[in-house]
Symmetry: D2
Subunit: 349 residues, 4 copies
């Protein structure tokens, strides 16, 4: 079978996309003269102020190099000595960070089976019963992912209930927001919805790279539970960018005129478009996307043909399940090309 050129934008992941032009412009524009390193520059002061405005209250806001480092710093900001973290068995911190939390901060991640990608209030309650047993890992922090690894989105009241369950029992709540923008956009929201969604959370890893950035994420600590010396812990975790202005400049452009929500909403809409193009193919077993990913079921041979043409990740090999993901850069043309080839490959024998 002769296939057309692969789409310009990959459906492998949102981190295969490049940098959004406005974000790149902000980087270039900040390359003027000297600026003291490690955040002692005006771009960083501005970005921190913008995050304060976004959150609507006093927060600690620390920029880091990447997502794994951001999650580790956020967890470190909430964990007491000796405590473990509760997360789902599909959570990124458990499955996709190569054991970084265990190595870098010595914490254990205790897992529960996910429910459509999510952790539940019941999971929190069950883990607390164990805290009195000196031999068992002692959970101190619960971590949820927004958007989840299964493409689902926690609603504000779901987060509030989990947070309430945590706080009533002396636990703290972390949100891995690598795709927080896609979640807010998926909930039809603006900045006030972000505040509603995060108001009971103790710390959040706020993703930027997957949403049109080049590098750098933000760790926002909302809680009085946060440590006094977070800036110091960031340095110790090797997550303090020296030429910080180039991270901060990205956030300044993203937080201007709601760019961060526009890029995310676009990515989400491209996933819907891809779903619409292919939902009639029963064998794919597609569910309507909540954010920017689809999880098709594809037979091995067809999947390999497609992946060779335009790469995407497998998700659950036992179920023949894969992941297609859209980004700020995906175009209608990309969707059309991709959907067309999927249809023709699946139709071939």
């Amino acid at each position: 079978m002769s296939l057309p050129l692969a789409p310009f934008s990959s459906f492998a992941s949102d981190n295969a996309a490049g940098v959004h032009p406005r974000v790149l412009d902000s980087i270039v524009a900040s390359n003027q003269g000297s600026a003291l390193a490690y955040g002692e520059d005006r771009y960083t002061a501005e970005a921190v102020r913008r995050f304060g405005d976004l959150c609507g209250r006093e927060v600690e806001c620390l920029f880091v190099f990447g997502g794994t480092g951001g999650n580790v710093l956020a967890l470190a900001s909430l964990l007491e000595t000796g405590e473990a973290v509760l997360a789902t068995d599909t959570s990124h911190i458990h499955v996709d960070e190569a054991g970084a939390p265990e190595r870098l901060i010595g914490t254990k991640i205790v897992t529960v089976p996910h429910s459509d990608g999510k952790l539940t209030v019941e999971d929190v309650e069950a883990c607390v019963a164990d805290r009195a047993q000196v031999h068992h890992p002692r959970v101190g922090v619960v971590s949820i992912t927004q958007v989840t690894e299964m493409g689902t989105v926690y609603k504000p009241d779901e987060v509030a209930h989990i947070a309430e369950a945590c706080h009533r029992r002396g636990l703290r709540l972390h949100m891995d927001g690598a795709r927080i923008a896609n979640a807010v956009a998926a909930l039809g929201g603006d900045e006030s919805l972000f505040r509603e969604l995060t108001q009971h959370v103790d710390a959040i890893t706020f993703g930027a790279t997957k949403n049109g950035g080049m590098f750098g994420e933000a760790v926002i600590v909302f809680s009085d539970h946060g440590k006094a010396n977070l800036a110091y812990i960031r340095k110790q975790l090797a997550q303090l960018p020296s030429k910080m202005r180039f991270v901060s400049a990205q956030f300044n452009s993203m937080l201007t005129d709601g760019l961060w929500l526009q890029t995310a909403a676009h990515a989400n809409s491209m996933a819907v478009q891809l779903y619409e193009r292919l939902k009639d193919i029963q064998s794919l077993q597609l569910s309507p996307p909540q954010a920017n990913s689809l999880f098709p079921t594809i037979g091995h041979a067809h999947a390999e043909t497609l992946r060779e043409w335009s790469f995407f990740w497998d998700w659950n090999q036992t179920l023949n399940q894969y992941r297609w993901m859209t980004s700020w850069a995906t175009t209608t043309e990309d969707v059309d090309v991709f959907a067309g080839v999927v249809r023709s490959v699946l139709a071939s024998s």
Copy 2:
């Protein structure tokens, strides 16, 4: 006293400088379409190949986010379980990384007093005597810094002698090359001198950010002592950039037409120029710079006046010693302005 505007380029550090235009151009140019994340892109393949050419042999080359992470990865690539690191009491890994090696890889750093910034063959020999004592930290890796924290430069034969002393006793040698380019340039060298300088070293942290980059350093492991799974350890240390192409693109431009040595040579020459402008002032106790830093002695009041005008770091408070540092971006005009104000402030009462 009324002072002129501060110089355009800060003398605080080479990481206060921006990104070199050719490096920035390469970043912008690589922002074309999709590229698989985590190094599965053509820019990274090219950068790795270029480092192989530079080193003239098979090496493992891994890009990381920053200097602290690079040092920790390089040390992890050489350390056996339970081993400690030997370094001078002024070394960056001991003094300026907030305890990151201890936290992230659990190693202890054993220190010896520096000799003009350097570690000596005798230091290596002395530490080995201790290795039989099960209660004492057991040194497995020796780490030297090039350029040293005192602005001095190890010559190729000095490195070779230390490496020989290490290898004869089963130790491995790491070079923290945050300013390796300035060292090579200072030795009047080109790429072949880089090879001579590093041929007996087991792993090197190759700095880029201070030399005109935006973010990202390289860890080069020369040795068979290196671990098999370095890519995996990098991920676990939270030092795997997702949109790797933007790190690799920087290295590609730096390694084209010797840009990395030109920028470093310029920085060095600006330090010489500053030295020439001020060497007659006895109270400063300036030594001729070997690379891109000067370490003046200044009385407290004068220093504060100067630092308020254009910030620079103190270096040894007991000795009233400070550090002035030049970069790829420093201009003759900057030097003239800076030297002029230093002279007039010191002349004031």
Copy 3:
């Protein structure tokens, strides 16, 4: 209901028992004059020699304070930097060591559902498929428990098959032998069966405390995969007893005339006796014990009455499952008293 006195020996755990008289005698006898600390004494030399004889080949044998420390040292002796451990979801290192391996050596424990307490060859094969993925925990060591936490016993050929599956794929095999003596006894074996059972294992934690000792366990490293500097790693893990002779003396008595197997065989036989006394009570859902534990199902109210009378641990709260455990010190009278009260409490309403 008026209950008789609780049995002299608790059925809570084999670590509730005291020290076997011959072991205690050996401790007292070794308290003669001075002996250099940290193992430089003749008792330790003898104990190490005895372990060599038991194993029938060159081994590294290190005595440590306790079981958790022993497991951590054994894992550290086999793990390469950055690697994870595979174990069942009921394994002691995962469930009952409070996150010690994660804290002390930074490793992640990857779990698979147990099969009657055991890990299988298929589990090993499945985990290896993941090793190429840089984001996923990279298993380097497989850990099995003998006797398992569900009271089952791996047969020599089961261990051999798992070992073969590990070694073919570059993994190493650890056996948590906290109750290795009960396993050997359960398999009807003597010292040659111990050799058969462990001949393909790379490191074993050899339990003593639960089998009539006071404190101290042995870590035996069979493999060339073991680190060169294990004695040093033990010290760093805070597991080097200073007055080592009192640990070694225990092992010397245990390894004399097969005491270690006699005490274990006795414990096992007491579990069988308890099973025989109660197997007719359907509601208990007892299986014949393979070693020294039974796992009865008991309704909450009855269980609480019994536990108040003579404490034992719950095992699976969802299933109302508890654990009864016998030891070297359990007597037929203890079994009779205990079984009698169980029967009468269950008969009450």
Copy 4:
């Protein structure tokens, strides 16, 4: 030269001595029937109560296996995430624990040159100046050793001044009391002097093994700075003895009728006796002992002859300095034999 038999009690270290008969008796006596593990026994309840009486106030008291583990737990009980420890360059935690604090709790130990074995108020003040610098290790806990590694003893007001300097600046104070009994005895004191000496300290490692015990030390946390979950942290550090009664029984006998101070006072008096026997030999450069150690200067050949006859440790190879140490078990006859041989060996050519 023909030498007599070596003394019955070694002068190598107080941990070469055996167990005091009353302590051994208490161990044997506690070997009666079952006792729940992990401290749920009456011996432990009694020992904890006795420590409360000794301290004269509410304390957390946790028994651990050994001294290194005790120091690590005590430090962990006081350190906040990311903090470092300040200690002298001769401190046991820095020199003689093989990097255990760095490995087990990821902390860095920042050192200052000792002053006659001690740390000073000025050292505390100097380290605090550094705490604002995000790149430098951030000291949170100061650790002093009592008796110091140089055989000197902090007086109560010295400790109080250091504690005051710590607390005024938000630091906490740890005392490594591996030989706290020798210190109290050396100060001519009883239990009230112990209270005076420790009343401003936040946590103490209370040594027992060197003072006539078999194994086990106590960690006493005096301070509200202590963590809530210390029992849990102990377990995670692999320092929770399962058959705890045998540790607790030792403390019960030591704390009865002041045995712990009698044994220490005896050890100290034997050091004085040894000093008196040899003080006239100028070349030894002996100072009057403050506790139970002497630090003679001996030429290499003579030292080797003596060490071959009856082993003792070198202390400072550069200075030809060695250590002689007495214990609860040293007798006047031992001193006479040892002093006699030293005198005759030194007199030989």
